[in-house]
Amino acid sequence: MKWQVYRSRWVPTIMLVIGLLFLWEFLSWLLLTLDVPLAQSKVPYIHELVITFTQYSGTLFSEGSVTLANASLGFLLGAVGGIVLAILMSLTKWLEQLAFPYAVASQMIPILGLAPIVYGIFRDEQLARILIAAYTTFFPVTLNMLRGLRSAEPSSLELMYSYAAKKWTIYTRLRFPQALPSLFTGLKIAAPLAVTGAILVELMGATKGLGVLMLRNLYYGPSHNYMFWLTVLFAAFLGIVSYFIVTVIERIVTPWQPEFRKSGGDK
């Protein structure tokens, strides 16, 4: 029974993926036979990518882990900063009114412009990467955390009031747990952004990381085309992995959320 359920769910997905891969291969072949200039830069053969991957997977993983490590550090920094800022803003209205416009404005600065500035100030590629990753992380986290902290229902608050609960107790017993689903929404948006942010700084000039690999292979032109494609795909993969990790943590921390409930809810 269970196997059939799994099969009925997986078979269409697998078929779709295989179909798309074939379509891609066909398109690649078509462009080559039609003599389209730079055909392989546009739609590279998948089997060539696989071959290149088996040859250079070590490089990809070692450079990727450098990027991921910096992105993770920045992500943690940005998340903690975002959470703290959200708590402060929820505690004092004037701080929200003071800080919120700046938080919004900060998001209007293009990272592409900010990255060289940060790099120029600190002259340290590692620190710059961490800071940019933190910078891209903090805003979605702040916004969602603040909304989560405000989402406690009036009746839930009245219950606390009836217990003569202190402000801090209301936070620990009600507002924080209530805010967790929202916080995770923010973290899920922020995690891939942190990876992108870290790569972007690497493009500005670094010695290690996926961004460096990407840039180098772009410069070398068509001969390194497959490797360039692989780094792009690998960067996307890292973004997905970071999202997935946050999702797993969310499931462990908040198993009570409606979306994780196994059976409907009516019983």
């Binding site: 009746s155 217990y163 003569a164 017993r173 009570w256 019983k267």
Partner: protein, 260 residues
């Protein structure tokens, strides 16, 4: 250590009025309501919507401040009673915290009063037995039916062993069958804990079945129109719902609404 006169009521409200102000209009929700509720008594506040019965309960709970009038709860103000955690409250909806399992929801108020973990557990176990949900203690609230959730809410209100239990239409969202069963259960729990109960409802049979006295309120503006004694013997059983006395009391109360 306070010395209370034997016959001084647990809850005294005199000439309490409540006026809601919106931008342009003023709504008089309660007009000069005076009630006295004795210790250990089970009273209902009964009336149609808009009669201010919930407002009256919320004033007792110190969730609202009356516009005028005085209120005394076991010798002090409503605020003092709240700060001293003299009452437990049950709302219309269960208001259970989603992230806490059933037992942890019941121990929530006990964490507030700083009880030791063992004592908290022990009380929760006892209450779970009282409401007949011991089997469900490690479930999340959403895994329970509406009636079970409301029973958990009652257990949570009773956890701090309050002198007063305030209940705001706790069974109004349930079907007739669950409601009647829970009425009987509530009485059996009450006979064990013996606290003063103020029960808000818009159901005449429910008020009659549960109460020692029914305070009948009428709307526009909300005011106390009648106090009906319910001399039915206790313990009250399901069969009583079919007795002529029960029907007589219901029709008496219904008639008092026809004038308004």
């Amino acid at each position: 250590m306070t010395i209370t006169k034997i016959d001084s009521p647990e809850i005294m409200m005199s000439q309490v009025s409540m006026c809601y102000k919106t931008n342009s209009t003023e709504v008089l929700a309660l007009k000069e309501v005076t009630v006295n509720i004795q210790k250990g008594e089970f009273v209902s506040l009964l009336g149609p919507s808009g009669c201010g019965k919930t407002t009256l309960l919320r004033i007792m709970a110190d969730l609202l401040q009356p516009t005028s009038g005085e209120i005394t709860i076991s010798g002090g103000t409503a605020k003092e009673a709240r700060l001293a955690r003299k009452y437990g409250i049950v709302f219309q909806s269960p208001v259970l915290y989603d992230w806490r399992k059933v037992k942890k929801n019941i121990t929530l108020p006990l964490e507030m009063i700083g009880l030791q973990k063992e004592e908290r557990e022990e009380r929760a176990e006892r209450l779970l037995e009282l409401i007949g949900l011991s089997k469900f203690k490690d479930q999340y609230p959403w895994q329970l039916s509406g009636g079970m959730q409301q029973r958990v809410a009652i257990a949570r209100a009773l956890a701090i062993e309050p002198e007063i239990l305030l209940m705001d239409e706790p069974f109004s969202a349930l079907d007739e069958f669950s409601r009647e069963r829970l009425n009987e259960e509530l009485l059996s729990i009450w006979s064990k804990v013996g606290s003063t109960v103020v029960f808000v409802t818009h159901s005449i049979p429910e008020a009659v079945f549960l109460s020692d006295r029914v305070f009948v309120l009428s709307p526009h503006p909300g005011r106390l129109s009648k106090v009906v004694n319910i001399p039915l013997p206790r313990p009250r059983r399901e069969e009583m719902r079919n007795s002529p006395e029960f029907y007589q009391l219901i029709s008496d109360i219904r008639q008092s609404f026809e004038g308004v």
